[in-house]
Amino acid sequence: MKETQSGPYVLETQHITKEFSGVRVLDDITVGIRSGEIMGLIGENGAGKSTLIKIICGIYQPTSGSVSLEGTPVEINDYIKAKRLGIALVPQEFNLINTLTVWENMFLGNEIITATRLLNKKQMRSRAGKQLEELGMPLDVNLKISDLSVAEKQQVEISKALLLNAGILIMDEPTTTLTGHEIRTLFTLMRRLKAQGVTIIFVSHKLGEIKTICDRVTVLRDGKLISIDEIADINEHDIARKMIGRDFTQVFPKKKVRTGDDIILSAEHLVSGRVLKDVSFDLRRGEILGFAGLVGSGRTETAETIMGLRPLSAGRVTVNGKSVHIQNARDAVDLGIGYLSEDRQGKGIVQDFDIPQNITMISLKRYLKNFLIDKGTELEKSSEYVRKFNIVAASMKMGLRFFSGGNQQKVYLARWVDTNPSILILDEPTRGIDVNAKKEIYDFIHSLAEQGISCIVISSEMEEVMGLCSRIYVMKEGRVTGCLEGDRITEEEIMFHATGIQGEVFDER
Amino acid sequence: AEAGDAPIKIGVSIPSADHGWTGGIVWWANKAVDDIKAEQPGVFEFRVVTADSPSSQVRNVEDMEVWGMEYLVILPHESAPLTPIVKQVQSSGVRVFVIDRGLTDTSFGYVNIAGDNTALGTNSGKWLREQMAAQGLTNYVAMGGLPVTIDTERMDAFFTEMNKDSSLINLLGGNNYEFADWSTQKGLSLMETFLQKYRKIDAVFCQDDDVLLGVLQAIKESGRTDVKIALGGAGSKVVYKMIMDGDPLVKATATYHPSMILDGIHYATEVATGERSDDFHDASSPVTVTIPSVLVDASNVADFYEPESIY
């Protein structure tokens, strides 16, 4: 894993600079990628990682500088060209067509055709199925994308890129929604590809992953290249320091020892759709409650059912001791419940809205003055959040479309915080958020709990639920299989309840 | 009134060509203008403006008033919506010639060169009734144009005439008839359906020669021989030709000819050059010149057929 390769770089960016309407987001980036290595790319939210990748893939054109392959400069005008040059991309945001099926999406732009120039559906179906299986995700390839959970979409997105058999594979935060199990499978696969000579660029905010899988790591900060290091020469701590430019230590705040005894929300035997079979749990005042489980175990469904976003076919929800009938999200909000969806793109932000418009979307009522929106207050309050969450934005008036993934996530979080909820359900709250910001968000969740607000954290990062929560429910196949507390919160216990198999513990480090 | 140097401004406002007959109107209007320009170069300035709806016709009249027209020749889409604006331009001194459809207000002075919808219906009905009686035919079907005022006038007159002979049975019962939208295609598909619905049809009245073409096509394609008479209306060139050539089904048509717009424009230029008096303008009611609807059959068709006409 450590041996250094010589010879020309298989891919090199030379003095790449990128400006968006005068704002410089990449500044003179020169990075060489060696053939057959896994290069980690890391940096805070908005550091410019995705922008750099998009330039390599021809989606953006650099303001100045060039990209060369095997030592020769190439002009990559669009993704079509990049693909032809053997570059495949797993984008940060999903690029799947909701109305098409899994296999149709996987082969989109890359169809297998018969001698008569017709689609060879049979072959595509079976190859798609095989590819997914290799990723440890035996998904029905005939399902429509719109019926998939976020994690499943992520798998499809990865498989789609893998099917291209490209020489250079670029993955922009492929692991954000995957649980440990799937991540491990993905890593196995990446190692195998590497053995076959595939060059991989890997973006992640999880330092552990970088350390585990990469050969070298490139750190970006504020659009500038900070360092390129052999992974052996650097530890997680150093990476973090280079990323944020100062020392960085403790991630999780100290757990709250005891919460109030009164149960603020309880669910009894919830059943919904085909997925949710039997879910019961209690949430106490000021508690940070965790939900763990494998992909597709029904955690998101549970949250959406409580929010009235999915029909409740049986069971009962009680808020503050009163049985409630939540028909839609409005009812839930009126009861003081908030829900940050895991699907930021499809269910979270409005791409064309600017920061204030996105943040005040739910709490807009409070900004009314004589029935009209008081835009001054709206802007003021939003600026407060921008400061509080450290949102990197060129302008408050810019559509969220142009924001980096992590910053979009922060805006989305701010929207829910602004509703002053008494119960906040956070589904993958730190999805795509850098370590530093993660810490801020953890601290923030804590301060919410301190104020007596109850939080439910659904996360695929076991570390996150374990570090944050005082109690954890584990789900499996639409049922709650266990409730862990205190000393029982260990990875072994969680995995046991999530899979039903004893001892399957994931630790890549 | 002889104008000095500046040309006399004449505005012509007509419906746009949305079926054959209105197409004829556009053609005859342009022909009149071209003829006059050729005969008397530089004397007149024309605006021929088409409108696809009553409201856009109101606009057009307003716009031409601003342009400074002194004479207005108008074939209203519908009478009621155009009446106020026409009355207004008249009161500001513009000489007005209303073609075909009269206005709903008849308390001011203008020339109404009227086509006679009622007569078209009456002539058609009378001819058809007599023909059917003579041949011992009893069954007929009828088609209207569109549900608009002039159509109602025609059909009412037609049925009044037909109902004078109680031996005739309108298969669709009373005044309930279908609309063919003055379109060949609609006439075709409607006739196809009629031919399915009724085992025996002796005669067809479809009120319009464009529709008639579709009706004939449907009869031809069906291979049915029971239909003995097909009567359209308005007098298109194609139908005149059929009458002349002795078509077995098409033996007559009642005129309602788009060349009436030409008469109107000529009337206006004649008033403008002083050949005709403009007394009508100050009268308290319109001067009506009715262009009679003539029944054209083999006996007189030669007088009406004009090969270079578009309609």
């Binding site: 979307m361 009209l372 | 106020p84 709903t104 549900p147 608009v148």
Partner: protein, 333 residues
Amino acid sequence: MNDNTITHDNRSLWSLIVRAVKGFRFSEHSTGMAFIILFLLAIIVGWPNFLRIRNLVNILRQISYTGIIGLGMTMVIISGGIDLSVGSMTAFVGGITIFFLNLFPGDSHMAVLAAGLFAVLFGAFSGLFNGLLVTKGRIAPFIATLGTMSIFRSLIQYFSGAGNILSENTFYPEVGAGSVLGLPVPVWMFFIIAAILHIVLNNTRFGRYICAVGANEQVARYSAVQVLKIRLIPYIITGATVGVTALLWSSRLNSINSSDCIYYELDAIAAVVIGGTAMTGGKGTVIGTVLGAIMLGMINNMLVLGGVSSYLQQAAKGLVIIAAVLLQYNKKN
């Protein structure tokens, strides 16, 4: 307008102007640019009549009927829908309003007032019908309103026996044919409704939500927006604007014909789209629609004033519309 414009201490007029010019984003004001170019063109083509006050007022009155409906249509289109039935609906509401007016014996201003209220309410009610088909019935707006387009037209033809419906109230024309301070009543209504809907769109919760729903229904639903309600109301608003136009048009003529107001939907939609509102929903402006409607009126006007061949008038109109939209080229991405 632009947040990160550097604030100068020097607040001289000159610096203000410089700042305004620099801050002016051409891509965002492309409708305005198209408007100015078209206006200049109209001055040339329609010289010297175009610039007469009388002509300009005429244009405004001419476009106000479909313009008012276009304002409501803007809301519908931003919310992700469309309403093809507005033309027939205008004739229908106008006709029923006259029936209603004729219920009152004798001439009375009260009756006219009642009829005015009735028209708006009945229009809103008809719009509600469209809206329910689209929201509760879950029928694609295009097809639902294509259906109601036939239905409204058919009903008014039936009620009127395919002819005219005449009002018996001699005060009625005061509404539609009247003027206030030199501007015709329809023009006033157009501007007033535009101002109201501009505020509704930009400064109310409802306005914010229709943009959200039009941009991404799913996101809106997850953000506690009552999507069905938000999609429904624009149809009611459009119905109300149809009611206003029906009132203005029928009272101007003191009658309505069953074939009136044909093609209104095309003019209204064209105004909205020329005004820069995206057919796909999610964003748009009321001011754009006002400009779009006026541009359409100017095109028509200059074709007549300029004396374009009657055969080619339609073609010229089509070309100018396309050109006007082409001028807004930059707008798209």
